[in-house]
Each structure stands twice: as C-alpha cells, then as structure tokens.
C-alpha cells in the first residue's frame, strides 16, 4: 500500500503496535538505581554477534509501529521494535527502499537491532551505510531520560551527531526508542552480470570501473567469479550492461550475499575483514568471499586470529570475528589506548551506571 495522502499519520502496519516508551524508561531507571545490567534484546536474531554480555534480558521488541512515513519527504520514522521486514514491505509499496540493504537473519529482526549492529549489505560502497541513512533517534540514556537527537530532516547540524553514534554501538550507549531513516527510490532498472576471473584480475577490472560514472550498485567475488550489479534509470543501466559485456546472471544472487545465506557466509566460524578496496592481503587459510567491491572480505575457517589481525591491520583495515568466537576470544579489533579511553568516557556520558550491554562491544565498556 502506498498512500499519497499528505499526512498519513499514524500508519499501523500491525495490530500489535504499541508505544512502550514510558514503561521502558521506568525499567531503565530501576536498573540504574540498582546497578543491574540489562541485556537489550529486539528480535534476538543477532545474539551471535559481539562479545557475551551479562545482565537481565530486556525485551524491547514490544515497542513497535511506524509513526510517520511520507514518501515525498524520503524519510520513515518507526519505533525501534518494528520488524524490519514490515518496514521494507511498506517502503516497497511506495517504490522506495532502505539504501543500505541490511542483512536480515529472521522475521523478528527489528529496526533497532539493525541500527545497533549497523551491518550494511552489498549496496553499501555505492549508497552508504546504516549510519549514513539515520536522520535522528530517540534514545533512553542510563538515567531513563528520552533524548531526541537529530530529527527527521536530511540537513541538520544542530547539536552533535549523537544519533549516528548509535549505529554500531551495539546498545552500549542507550536503548533506542524510535528512529528516523532516510529512504531512497527503488532503481527503475537493475541488471546483474558475471565475469569469470581470479581475484587479482577482478580487482583490476573493478578498480577501473569504479573510476567511471557507471550505475554500479554492488560487486562481489567468490570462487573465481565476479558479480556486478547495475541499478538506476533504464538507459544508463542498459548502456553500462552493453559496455561491461558480462554474462547475464539472476538478480536473486544478491539476496544470498545480503542475508548471508550463501556459503561460506553461513559458516559457523566467520571473520569479517574491513579493508581498503585496493589493498592486497596475503593468502589466508579458509574460504574467501569478497563483497563491497573488495572492501569487505568474509573469511570462513580456522585461520590463526593473530595472523588475520596483523595482516588486515597492515592494510589500514580491521578484522571482526563475526561469528563463532570461543570463550574469551577477542571479537572486535582492539583500540589504541587514547581512543579506548575516549570510548570509556563516552559510555560514561550516556550510561553512567554502566547498565547497557556491558562488555558486548569491548571489555570494560
């Protein structure tokens, strides 16, 4: 359904919509007073991601519902517990979408969880990440105060961009209540092409293509095959497809990359290497899939963690043990001491009692 009404407020996409903001704030105040840590849970589809955290499970998924969506404003505002699939369906009905194509690991996955984890899909190098699309949030700080940071408009430089800070903070800074996200029109045309090429040749091809004004929207490489997606107005996509002269390939291949169902992305032990697209990384032991035109390398297998971190950091990037960390294993790349100290102070600024997802991102945070 797409409404052209000027003020389609509120839109209810489900009978279970509810505003639990006050109840959640009360729970936070209580936990804060008692110094009891909370493990914030939305759809519980990304429990595998990040370090283990202690604390009582704090289910925020009941705080749900789209509160504002006007397609001509290119922004949607929804409560954090709103299932991301509902939001995507609503947008699709109006020929719009989330530019960052978040991976969805289950139907219960929520907008809040998508923002807190800040995982972006194949379109990320071409259309931006989760943090690029956020326009504002309402977040509960450790005192249970609802802070409205940012807003619903694209250009807004009043106050620090505390709302973008929530993207990727894994709930360590506060409980997201509602989120305003910028949306984009769906491309009118889309084509997927495949090329048989080993990575060095594929990388050289991509580097050349990325320097030209082509309607690229995704590029991944796996087992000697490079897949490129073109998205945009018809003429540009058709012209680029002719120019690139690859084999046509089915467009649904991207779902497997995006939602990480394609082997080896479903592996039990999986590393995410975020590296400069043009970097050369030495051979790593394991199965490799390169997304983001080479800037995001997925490595499945048992390669030595120290060796991975050393090689990746030498490129100027960082490595995350995305899935399958064993007890006590480092998940995220350790920060230099002054940077970590800054993180510690920011954590204390938002969550003085240290009750939100302690340790989920880093020990001591």
């Amino acid at each position: 359904m797409c409404t052209t009404e000027r003020f389609p407020l509120p839109i209810s996409t489900a009978s279970r919509d509810a505003d639990l903001g006050e109840a959640l704030a009360e729970r936070v105040k209580l936990a804060s007073a008692r110094g009891e840590p909370l493990r914030i849970v939305g759809g519980d589809t990304k429990a595998f991601y990040g370090r283990a955290t202690r604390g009582e499970s704090f289910d925020v998924s009941g705080h749900r519902g789209v509160t504002a969506y006007d397609p001509s404003e290119l922004v949607i505002t929804a409560r954090a517990g709103t299932p991301i699939v509902e939001i995507e369906a609503l947008l699709a009905g109006c020929d719009q979408m989330l530019a960052f194509e978040p991976p969805i690991f289950g139907p219960a996955s929520t907008l809040g969880g998508v923002v807190a984890a800040a995982l972006s899909g194949p379109r990320r190098p071409f259309a931006g990440a989760v943090r690029d699309a956020i326009l504002g949030v309402t977040v509960l700080n450790g005192k249970g105060e609802a802070l409205r940071l940012g807003g619903t408009v694209f250009k807004n430089v009043a106050g620090f961009d505390g709302f973008r800070l929530m993207a990727g903070a894994l709930g360590c800074l506060g409980v997201l209540l509602d989120i305003s996200v910028r949306v984009v029109p769906r491309p009118r045309a889309e084509r997927t092409l495949r090329f048989e090429a080993a990575w060095p040749a594929a990388k050289a091809r991509l580097t050349g293509l990325m320097r030209r004004p082509l309607p690229l929207s995704a590029a991944f490489h796996y087992k000697g095959t490079l897949y490129i997606r073109l998205s945009g107005p018809e003429a540009a996509v058709e012209a680029a497809a002719r120019d690139l002269a690859g084999e046509p390939a089915p467009g649904d291949i991207w779902d497997g990359v995006r939602h990480m169902t394609l082997a080896p992305l479903a592996s039990a032990r999986l590393w995410r290497l975020s590296v400069p697209r043009t970097a050369d990384i030495a051979d790593l032991d394991g199965e490799v899939l390169r997304d983001w035109a080479g800037a995001q390398v997925w490595l499945a297998g048992e390669e030595n963690a120290d060796r991975i971190r050393q090689l990746v950091q030498a490129t100027g990037g960082h490595a995350t043990l995305f899935r399958g960390a064993r007890d006590g294993e480092t998940v995220f790349t350790p920060l230099p001491r002054p940077l970590f100290e800054l993180h510690r102070r920011l954590k204390a600024a938002f969550d003085p009692a240290g009750i939100f997802n302690p340790g989920r991102l880093y020990e001591g945070l």
Binding site: R6, D70, P71, S72, E73, L74, R124, G128, A129, R131, D132, L147, R148, L149, G151, T152, V153, K155, V157, A158, G159, F160, D161, G162, R164, L165, A167, G168, A169, P185, R188, T207, R211, P213, P215, P233, A235, A236, A239, S274, V275, P276, R277, A295, G316, G317, H318, F332, P336, P338, L339, F340, L342, H343, R345, L346, A348, A349, L361, Y362
Partner: protein, 499 residues
C-alpha cells in the same frame, strides 16, 4: 548582541599571565607563528558573520600537527580557551574569538598531500580550499561532492567542523557522507586517527561526532575525503510559478516520482529578481517563485527524467518551463543562484542569512509565516531554498547604520528559526549553531539533551577549553532564554500544526 560573552550565561575561565602564556607558546611555535598585537590580530576578529566581532588574546599559526599539539598542551595546562579557525567563511560566528582565547589558525595547513585515483580518495591538510580538491581531482575524472556556496574560499577542515552541505547534497550527501578518515589532536594532546582507510572502523562512530562538532571536540590536522567520478552529462531545467505554493507542490511531486535531482533549488520573487539584476541569467522576473532542477548521469536518462520533471512542474501550475539551451546558459542559471547572497547588496546595505531546515511539505506554510513576520518586524525577507532537502535560507535585509535595525534583524532571525523547530525542522541545516544560534538550541533541545551534548563535549575536552560559548548552550543560558519565552506568554506559532 551575541558577540558579547556573558559571564553569567557563558563559560568563564580564570585570568592568566599573558606574558607567561606567550613565553610558553613561543617555545612550541616557529618564530613567525605567534601574533600578539591588536593590529596583527584584527583580521581574526570575525568570520563570515561579520556583525559579531572580538579580538582574541593571541593568534597561533602552527605549520605541523606537532606544533598544534604543542599549543593545545600549553593551553590545557594553563586553562586557556582555544578557538580553531579555518578560512573564516563560516556564517554562524563559530570562529568568533572568545575573550582572551588563543585563536588557532589552520591556514598554513594548505597542502594536498596525495590523491589516490584507484581508491578514489584525497588526503589533504585542513586548510586546503574545498574547490581546490575538485580542481586537483579533475585530472583523474573525479570530484569532491559537497559544494558550499563559499567553496572558492572555505577550507576542508572548516567543512568537516561544520558538516558543510551545498546545492548537491540531496544526491551526493553532506560532508559526513564524503569523508573517510581524520587525523586530530585533542586538547589533552592525544593524537587520534578517526575512521580509517577501510569503509568503517572498529568501535563507536567517532567520525560522526567529529563532523559538525564546530571545533568543540578537537583540532583536525588531516582529512581523507572520498572522491566521485564526474558525471558525464548534466542539464538544468528552470520552472516559473505564479504562486509559491505551486512550486512547493512541484518539489514534493518530483521527489515522490522517484527522481533524485543533483540539485533542486527554489528562489522567491525578491531573491530571483535581485539575482537577475546581478547576473542577468534570464530569470522570469514576474514569477512568484522559480525552481532550478539539475539532473546528472547518462544523457538519455537525463533527457527522459527532465521531461518527466517538466510534466510534473506543468501539472503543478508552472507558468514557464525551459531547459538551459547550452552549457553556458546552464552555468549562468547556477551563477544566478550561487550569486544570490551577494546580489542582496542591490536591495539593502546589509543582509542576514538564516539557515533552517523544514520538512519539505511545510514550505508554503513556512513562507507565508515568514512573510507575516517580515511585515511585523518591518524588514524585507528574500528566500533562497535548497528545496530538495528542505534547507531554507531566508535573507533578512537591513541597514546596520539605521538605529535598531540590526537588533530587529537578529530578533526576526531567531523567530524564523523557532518557526522551523515548531514545524518539525531544525535551527541549522548547514551553517552550524556557532555563536549565532546558541539561544535557539534551547528551543530545539530539552535540558536533558543539552546535558547529553555537554557530556559528549566533556568526554573529549574535560575542561571545556575548545571553542567555549559556541554550539552547546550552558544550562544557565537556557534557563534565562526559556524564562524570556515564558515572560512573553503563549507558545510561539500556536496557530501552526506541530509535529
């Protein structure tokens, strides 16, 4: 006037021994790196908001990150406020000197360090001019997208500090979307790398905090920006409307049709007539509003989408729709728009540029309200509007030499910003809060939110030495400012729908 800092409402610092400070700073700066006389410091007394003026205590002109670090360590040790300054083109008084401060000019950081066309990045020092980056990248078929009107003069360090925008933001994003890595020094002398060479970095997104931080969190010493391939083709369409409301409807309909123009700009009658007299761009001088819509991309797509834009404008009641005949006319159409601010000089001795953002659909209401307020304050207002992203630039025309006019302009400007907040927008789209909008921060944010911003600042700058009295108001200021509103009675703009 807000260029006077108030000890009761703004941060205060213990007075220091100036001679001792000079001695300590001389030890960390080159021989020509410190200005101490009023004559030498005069050029630093204001930024692009020239109505606000004040002399700094000293001016430091470092050449290297190590010298920047030296200055910051001295100031932190002695408790001296520091105001960092780029090209000084900012419009919100962000670089206005705080009394007794060390004004830290980054003007000598003026080198492009490297351009990597394969990675599509440029490493530059903060004092490099915005346009110089695109000029240097042009040889590689690349450009740096954010293009504030001041791009000939403004520096990239200042752009990061303000999260600068421009006319192409709707499609290409703001500064925050177009930078990848920062080198910075904290007031405590820590050298930090924020972001990185990959597309993301571990930990919190500190790049987001630094962008638009208005010199309150640290001093940037190097910026790595992202470059984009230059579009093959660009074309601009001009549409004239007899009613501003029709223009606003056309804007909403273009976006709703799934078209993201590279630029979508609106000017009202007063603004477009002044620009026409200034540049002779061939604007429709009898129109109530004019829209410029630029599309870029493959030639066939641009042509096809522009014909849809033309249909949409006609359906919305456009009285005239035409394409730029050629590249020269396209440049001329934009020259008029980019020259709209200086063109105001034809209408009045002075103008005061306001910078609010509103949800696009509220444009007609807001313009009507501004017209009413303009009449009530007895000062004309011309409107220039980044229509695509809802960023409104009302230009209040006044004469600084006429008694009371400047104060009236300031009051009217503040009221317009509060109107933007009331309809669900914000007090600043791209110029920053600076000193100018410090009171309106209290209108947009609650006490808890202002406290949260202050806590973020304290995490970076525990003593509050970096650019004090700017961007984040003290609670005392908000108490005073809030009290003033209560004193005046009812909620402002009670007749408008609130969001």
């Amino acid at each position: 006037m807000l260029d006077t800092f108030d000890p009761d409402l703004d941060p205060t610092f213990a007075s220091i021994d100036r001679a001792a400070l000079i001695g300590r700073l001389k030890a960390v700066l080159p021989a020509d790196g410190l200005l101490t006389t009023p004559e030498a410091m005069r050029v630093y007394e204001s930024d692009g908001l020239a109505a606000y003026r004040g002399l700094p205590g000293l001016v430091a002109l470092p050449r290297t990150p190590e010298e920047v670090r030296g200055v910051l360590l001295v100031c932190n040790a002695l408790g001296v406020p520091v105001v960092a300054r780029g090209a000084g083109t900012g419009l919100s008084g962000g670089a206005l000197p705080f009394p007794g401060c060390v004004l830290l000019s980054l003007s000598r950081f003026n080198r492009i360090l490297s351009i990597d066309p394969a990675a599509r990045t440029a490493r530059v020092q903060p004092g490099v001019r915005n346009l110089a980056i695109s000029e240097a990248a042009a040889a590689h078929g690349l450009f740096y997208a954010p293009d504030p009107s001041s791009q000939i003069a403004c520096s990239i360090g200042g752009n990061v500090a303000e999260n600068a925008g421009g006319v192409h933001c709707l499609k290409y994003g703001l500064t925050v979307h177009n930078i990848q890595k920062l080198e910075m020094v904290t007031i405590e002398g820590e050298t930090l790398t924020i972001g990185g060479d990959a597309l993301d970095a571990p930990g919190f997104d500190l790049m987001a905090l630094m962008t638009g931080s208005e010199g309150l969190l640290g001093v940037i010493t190097e910026v790595t920006v992202k470059l984009l391939p230059t579009p093959v083709h660009a074309q601009v369409l001009l549409a004239a409307f007899a009613d501003v409301r029709h223009g606003g409807e056309a804007v909403a309909a273009i976006i709703a049709a799934g078209i993201i123009p590279a630029g979508l700009e609106m000017m009202d009658k007063l603004a477009l007539n002044a620009a026409e007299a200034h540049v002779h761009a061939g604007y429709p001088t009898d129109a109530a509003a004019m829209l410029l819509c630029e599309l870029d991309g493959a030639e066939a797509d641009v042509a096809q989408e522009l014909s849809r834009v033309a249909e949409i404008c006609e359906a919305a009641g456009a009285t005239q729709v035409r394409l730029a005949r050629d590249e020269a006319e396209r440049a001329l159409f934009w020259a008029g728009r980019k020259g709209a601010f200086p063109a105001m000089g034809r209408l009045a001795p002075d103008y005061y540029c306001i910078d609010g953002t509103i949800p696009r659909r509220r444009l007609p209401d807001v313009l009507e309200e501004i017209e009413r307020m303009s009449a009530a304050h007895g000062l004309p207002v011309a409107n220039v509007f980044h229509a695509g992203d809802g960023n409104l630039h009302p230009l209040i025309l006044y004469d600084a030499n006429a008694p009371g006019q400047m104060e009236r302009a300031e009051t009217l400007g503040g009221a317009i910003l509060e109107l933007c907040v009331a309809v669900g927008g914000t007090i600043t789209g791209e110029h920053g809060v600076g000193r100018e909008k410090i009171n309106q921060m209290c209108a947009q944010f609650s006490t808890a939110e202002v406290e949260a911003f202050a806590a973020i600042k304290a995490a970076f700058d525990p003593k509050g030495l970096l650019n004090p009295g700017k961007a984040i108001p003290t609670l005392a200021r908000c108490a005073e400012f809030g009290a003033m509103h209560v004193h005046h009675g009812a909620v402002p703009f009670a007749h408008l729908d609130r969001l």
